[in-house]
C-alpha cells in the first residue's frame, strides 16, 4: 500500500513536465487552497476531530499560512502522510508546505532539499514504558522490544543510543502512530519510542495513561519545524515570517481577541504597528498585503494561545512550555523581529 504511494510519487516525478517551482504563491492563490502536509493522526498536533475537522498545533500553522496567503484559515487541504511519504509528497509538488512533527536535520536540508522554517517545537526523543515493569532509566532497557516508527529520525537515534550504551534490543518497526499504539498496548513491545511530544500525545490516547511513564532520558535533539521545497525563496519567506509573526505576537501581547482592535489604527508600539501593517507595509516584501499577519493571528491566535489550546498543561496532552517558553520567560523561543 505504501509501496504504491512511493511508486506513484516516483511516477509523478517522472510524468509532471512542469514542476511547481518558483511560483508556489501564485499556484496556491490560483488554486484558492493550501495543500498542507500533516501526520496521519497525532492528537494535539494534527488529527481530525469527531466532525472530521483537522485540529492541532501543527494544523494551526497550516491555517495561519492559509489565512495570510488566501485570507481564510479554512482554505486548507490536509494531506495525511506517514513518516516515509511526507517528503516525497512535498517534493513532488503534491503538498505546498509541511507541518508534521518534523525534525530539522542537515541531510533533510541538504540531501532531501528541504528548507526548514523556524522551529515551532523544541523536542527530543524519549521512551514510554509500563509503570509495572519498574524501569526508571533508559539504560535499564537491555533486551527490551522497542516499538519504533519507521521513516523517522528516531530509528537512527535509537540504534545509536543502544550501541553507545552497549545494550541490545529488538526493534519492532511500525508505520503509523496508530499501529504503534496497537502494538504497544497489545504488549508486542515493552517500550515505545518517539519524540517526547509524540509520546505525551500517544500516552493520552491509551486506555489508562497513568499506568505508563515517560523515562527521564531524552536521547536526541529534535527541533521540529515546518518545511518547504528548495528553490522558491519567496514561498520560504512567507512560511518563515508567518511562524515568526505568531511567536512575536505572543511576545508583543497580540492575541486572537485583540488583534483586530490593535490593527484598526496605529498605536504607541512601533513593533506592533509594523507587524499589523498600520505603519508600514511589510507584507509587500513577500508578495502579500499589509494585513497578512493580522489574518494569521486572527485565525489561530498567537503561539502561546495555540500551544495552550492543543497541547498545553490544561489539555489531555499536558505538555509544559519548558524549552518552548519565550526567551524572556526562560525558554529558548526567540523569533527574529519583523522590521
Amino acid at each position: 500500500m505504501r509501496v504504491t504511494k512511493s511508486a506513484a510519487v516516483a511516477a509523478a516525478l517522472s510524468l509532471t513536465a512542469f514542476t511547481a517551482q518558483a511560483a508556489t504563491l501564485e499556484d496556491v492563490q490560483a488554486r484558492g487552497e493550501l495543500n498542507c502536509v500533516v501526520t496521519t493522526g497525532v492528537a494535539g498536533f494534527a488529527a481530525p476531530d469527531e466532525n472530521g475537522r483537522w485540529e492541532g498545533f501543527d494544523v494551526d500553522f497550516c491555517r495561519a499560512v492559509a489565512a495570510a496567503v488566501l485570507g481564510d484559515g479554512e482554505k486548507v487541504k490536509f494531506i495525511p502522510t506517514t513518516g516515509k511519504t511526507r517528503f516525497t509528497v512535498l517534493n513532488s509538488g503534491e503538498g505546498d508546505i509541511l507541518f508534521r512533527n518534523t525534525t530539522e536535520t542537515m541531510s533533510r536540508d541538504a540531501d532531501l532539499k528541504l528548507s526548514f522554517l523556524p522551529v515551532n517545537y523544541y523536542d527530543g526523543q524519549g521512551f514510554m514504558i509500563r509503570k509495572e515493569l519498574g524501569v526508571t532509566s533508559a539504560k535499564d532497557l537491555d533486551g527490551a522490544s522497542v516499538c519504533i516508527q519507521t521513516g523517522t529520525t528516531t530509528e537512527l537515534n535509537l540504534a545509536d543510543f543502544f550501541r553507545i550504551n552497549n545494550i541490545s534490543y529488538e526493534p519492532v518497526a511500525i508505520e503509523t502512530n496508530e499501529e504503534g499504539i496497537t502494538n504497544y498496548s497489545g504488549n508486542r513491545c515493552d517500550v515505545y519510542t518517539t519524540d517526547a511530544s509524540g509520546l505525551a500525545s500517544t500516552r493520552a490516547a491509551l486506555d489508562d495513561p497513568s499506568a505508563h511513564i515517560i523515562l527521564p532520558e531524552i536521547i536526541s535533539k529534535e527541533p521540529l519545524g515546518g518545511a518547504v521545497r528548495h528553490g522558491d525563496d519567496q514561498w520560504f519567506d512567507i512560511g518563515k515570517w508567518v511562524v515568526n509573526a505568531l511567536i512575536n505576537a505572543e511576545e508583543l501581547g497580540i492575541t486572537q481577541a485583540n488583534v483586530e482592535e490593535l490593527a484598526s489604527a496605529a498605536g504607541d508600539n512601533p513593533s506592533i504597528n509594523r507587524m499589523l501593517g498600520t505603519e508600514s507595509d511589510m507584507g509587500a516584501m513577500v508578495g502579500l498585503d499589509a494585513q497578512w499577519a493580522v489574518r494569521a493571528i486572527k485565525a489561530v491566535g498567537n503561539y502561546g494561545e495555540s500551544f495552550d489550546r492543543h497541547i498545553g498543561p490544561n489539555t489531555q496532552i499536558g505538555l509544559e512550555r519548558g524549552l518552548n517558553a519565550l526567551w524572556k520567560d526562560g525558554g529558548i523561543l526567540y523569533a527574529a523581529p519583523i522590521r
Partner: protein, 397 residues
C-alpha cells in the same frame, strides 16, 4: 496488374508495403518500439530534469554508506554500522525466506484443499468449499493484520511463556527454540546425508531401468528414505550426538540465546500461504476434474491400485493443467509479501524501499531497485516453472 502499378507509382509503394502482411507487421512493430522508447525516454529525461530542478542527481553512492538502523530479523551478520547495501541484502533474504516457505506451505495446503473439494464426503467437501470462498474473498492484507493481532494478543508475555519441555518457549514476542552449534563429528553425519541424496538419485534411475527391462518393482521410496534419513540419524546417535544445543533463557524483558521465529514472520507466512492455498485448491480441483473418468477406469481394469492410478495416470496429466496457473499463484504470493511492512516484517520494501529510502531521500533509485528485484524474482519463478512444465510434458509415443 502490372499496368495498374505503373500508372499509379506514388500510391503504390506505400500501399504495396502496407498490403503486404509481413512488411506491415514490421512497420507496426517499428512504430510501436519507437513510441515506447520515446515514452520511456521522455519519462526518464523528465524525472532527471525534475530532480535536477530541485537540485537532486541520480546516484547509487548511498548504498555504501552506513545504514544507521537496526533490523530485527536478519539471516546474515548485520548491525547499524553495516551499509545500506547490506541492509538491502537482509531485506532480500527476508523476502525470499517468506516467499519460499510460503510457496511450500501454500502448495501443500492447496493440494489438500483441492483433493478435499473432490471428496465424496458431503461435509469435508462443503467445509473446504466454505474455507476457499471465505479466504478468497477477504483481502490478504486483512488476513495478515488479523493473524498478527491474534498472535500478539493471544500468546502470553515472555514471563508467562508457554514452556515446551524447558527447551522451547512460545511467547507473543516470538517462538524461542534452541539453536544448534556443530561439533566436527557432525560433518560426518552431514556427509552421509549428502551421500544419501546422491545414492537415491542413482538408485531411482537404476530401479527404473530394472523395471523397464525385467518388470521387477523395487520399494524405491523406502530404500531412499533409509539412505537419506535413516543412515544419517543412526550415525548421529552412534557418534554421540555431535550437536550442542543452546537453550533460550529468560533474561530481563525477553528470552536470550537460541533462535527465535518472530510473530511478524509467522503472521506473514501463514496468512500468505493460507490465502494462496485457497486459489491453488481451486486450480488443483479443476486440474484433476479435467482428467476423464474413463482413464481411471481403464487403469483400474489393468489391475492398478488406487494409489498407483492417481500417481501414474491422473496426477501426471492433471499437473500439465495445474502448473501454468500455479505459477501465477507463486508470483502472486511473492509479490503480496511486499505487504510485510504493515506488520513491521523487514523485507525488501521495508529496508531499501523504506528506511533506506527515507533516510537517504533517494526515492527514484530505491524504488527502481525494488521494482527490478521483484521483476527478477518473478522471472526466475516463471522460468523455473516453465522448465518444470516442459519436463513433465506428455511424452507422445
Amino acid at each position: 496488374m502490372n499496368e495498374a502499378i505503373a500508372s499509379q507509382p506514388q500510391r503504390n509503394i506505400v500501399s504495396r508495403l502496407w498490403n503486404d502482411k509481413e512488411t506491415r507487421s514490421v512497420i507496426i512493430q517499428i512504430i510501436a518500439f519507437a513510441a515506447i522508447f520515446a515514452f520511456f525516454f521522455f519519462m526518464v529525461r523528465n524525472a532527471i530534469s525534475n530532480l535536477e530542478s530541485i537540485g537532486k542527481d541520480i546516484s547509487l553512492d548511498f548504498l555504501s554508506q552506513p545504514s544507521s538502523y537496526d533490523i530485527s530479523q536478519s539471516l546474515i551478520e548485520y548491525s547499524s554500522r553495516s551499509t545500506h547495501f547490506r541492509a538491502m541484502i537482509v531485506g532480500i533474504l527476508n523476502t525470499l525466506l517468506v516467499a519460499v516457505f510460503g510457496v511450500i506451505l501454500a502448495t501443500l495446503v492447496g493440494f489438500l484443499l483441492g483433493v478435499l473439494r473432490l471428496s465424496k464426503n458431503w461435509l469435508t467437501n462443503k467445509l473446504a468449499y466454505v474455507y476457499i470462498e471465505y479466504v478468497r474473498n477477504v483481502p490478504v492484507l486483512l488476513h495478515i493484520l488479523l493473524l498478527h493481532g491474534i498472535i500478539v494478543h493471544a500468546l502470553p508475555l515472555p514471563k508467562n511463556a508457554i514452556n515446551l519441555g524447558d527447551t522451547a518457549f512460545l511467547t507473543n514476542r516470538g517462538f524461542f527454540i534452541p539453536s544448534p552449534s556443530f561439533e566436527p563429528l557432525f560433518w560426518v553425519v552431514a556427509g552421509l546425508f549428502v551421500a544419501g541424496i546422491f545414492f537415491s538419485i542413482w538408485f531411482s534411475r537404476y530401479a527404473h531401468k530394472v523395471q523397464d527391462a525385467t518388470g521387477r518393482h523395487y520399494p524405491v521410496f523406502w530404500i531412499n528414505l533409509g539412505a537419506i534419513i535413516g543412515i544419517p540419524v543412526l550415525a548421529y546417535f552412534i557418534l554421540g550426538s555431535p550437536i550442542i544445543w543452546e537453550i533460550p533463557e529468560l533474561k530481563g524483558f525477553n528470552y536470550r540465546g537460541g533462535m527465535v521465529v518472530r510473530p511478524e514472520f509467522v503472521a506473514l507466512w501463514i496468512a500468505l500461504s493460507l490465502y494462496t492455498a485457497a486459489f491453488i485448491g481451486e486450480i488443483v480441483r479443476a486440474g484433476i476434474s479435467a482428467i476423464s473418468w474413463g482413464q481411471s477406469e481403464a487403469a483400474a481394469a489393468l489391475g492398478l491400485s488406487r494409489g498407483r492410478i492417481l500417481n501414474l495416470v491422473v496426477i501426471p496429466q492433471a499437473l500439465r493443467i495445474i502448473i501454468p496457473p500455479l505459477t501465477s499463484q507463486y508470483l502472486n504470493l511473492t509479490k503480496n509479501s511486499s505487504l510485510a511492512i504493515a506488520i513491521g516484517y523487514m523485507d525488501i520494501v521495508a529496508t531499501i524501499g523504506g528506511v533506506t529510502l527515507n533516510q537517504t531521500g533517494r526515492e527514484m533509485e530505491s524504488m527502481t531497485i525494488v521494482l527490478l528485484l521483484y521483476l527478477t524474482f518473478s522471472l526466475l519463478i516463471s522460468s523455473f516453472m516453465n522448465w518444470y512444465n516442459k519436463r513433465i510434458k506428455l511424452v507422445e509415443r
